[in-house]
């Protein structure tokens, strides 16, 4: 699922393709036309039993145009202008720096406590070793 702008670009290109294909195929598969006033008996009716390319392409092109309209509607309006965006970016950056400072602070506190606990564990382990060495029976 691409973003809206890419979808819009793809839709525009698809519309162009539709135009080209429509004209091309209709021209290639067109039955010979009759001359007005040059009455030839017989085959007047173009074979409508074949796939009705004209209406198919018409539907496709109309649908594509509608899709493009809908996609255009979904784009953001001019309200969020550049200045607004830049201002909010600046605010966010400051907020981010604050959050980073807070995180750094908490992490350093945690590291400190980790160090203390590790030292305590170290002491406890040494104590146990000492106990075992002084009273080997236990």
């Amino acid at each position: 699922m691409a973003d809206r702008l890419t979808q819009l670009q793809d839709a525009i290109n698809a519309q162009a393709d539709n135009f080209c294909n429509a004209i091309g195929i209709l021209q290639q598969t067109a039955p010979p036309a009759t001359f007005p006033g040059f009455d030839r008996a017989g085959n007047r009716t173009p074979q409508q039993q074949q796939e009705d390319h004209a209406s198919l392409f018409a539907t496709l092109i109309a649908r594509c145009a509608k899709d493009i309209d809908v996609l255009i509607d979904s784009l953001p309006s001019e309200d969020s202008t550049t200045e607004l965006q830049i201002a909010s970016l600046r605010r966010l950056e400051e907020g981010n720096e604050d959050a980073a400072a807070r995180l750094r602070e908490v992490v350093s506190e945690g590291e400190l406590m980790l160090e203390k606990i590790q030292n305590a564990l170290h002491d406890i382990a040494q104590t146990q070793l000492a106990m075992q060495s002084t009273s080997p029976s236990t």
Binding site: L5, I23, I86, R102, L103, M113, N119, A120, D123
Partner: protein, 218 residues
Amino acid sequence: MSETAQVSSLPLPPMQYVTLFSEENTKRGRTPRPPPPITDNYSMFGNPYNTDDAVIRPLESQNIRRLYPNNYDHRRELKKLNHSITASFLDLVDICIRNPESEARATKIDDLTLLFIHMHHLVNEFRPHQARETLRVMLEQQKRQRLEIAERFRRHFDKAWELVQQAISTIPEPTESNIKLLIDIERVQPSEGNLNNQACGNGCVEEDRVLCQIIDLL
């Protein structure tokens, strides 16, 4: 897409450049310097570029006729273009029906080309906006994540602190039997103000003295 049996679609590595970065050269510091940043004009894949170009949107008035006024609403213009394109196509088909060989056909096709180019240009003008928006969302997400992590870390920290305090408080009071052991431990490693040792260090010394006095009196 790289090497097949016959032909590689990728260019060969520039061997005469690569050999300049041999072992000895790097050790002696004689490798070529990185290329300096380019200022002003340069050409890429045959197209000339300029570093002073207005970032992503060179003005339409470079080569192409402009069809919309100076201060415009993108969406409205895009919609008008969309309708113009469809109507133009209808006209084109009409011309093909009536008089396929007229030069009006070529003109119409040119019109269509122009309209499509305009449409793409307007869509491209949205791209910087999208980029800034993406940046904004990324920053918000980052900030939220940082605060969340700090919050969770603090909670864990508090829990751990509580556990340690609990553990300290459940250390049994030094009784007569284990005072001697504590004295030995104190001699074994000098305490440097660590949590545990501090907690029992002072207590031991105090009660140790008291009990020694009691025993002496006996």
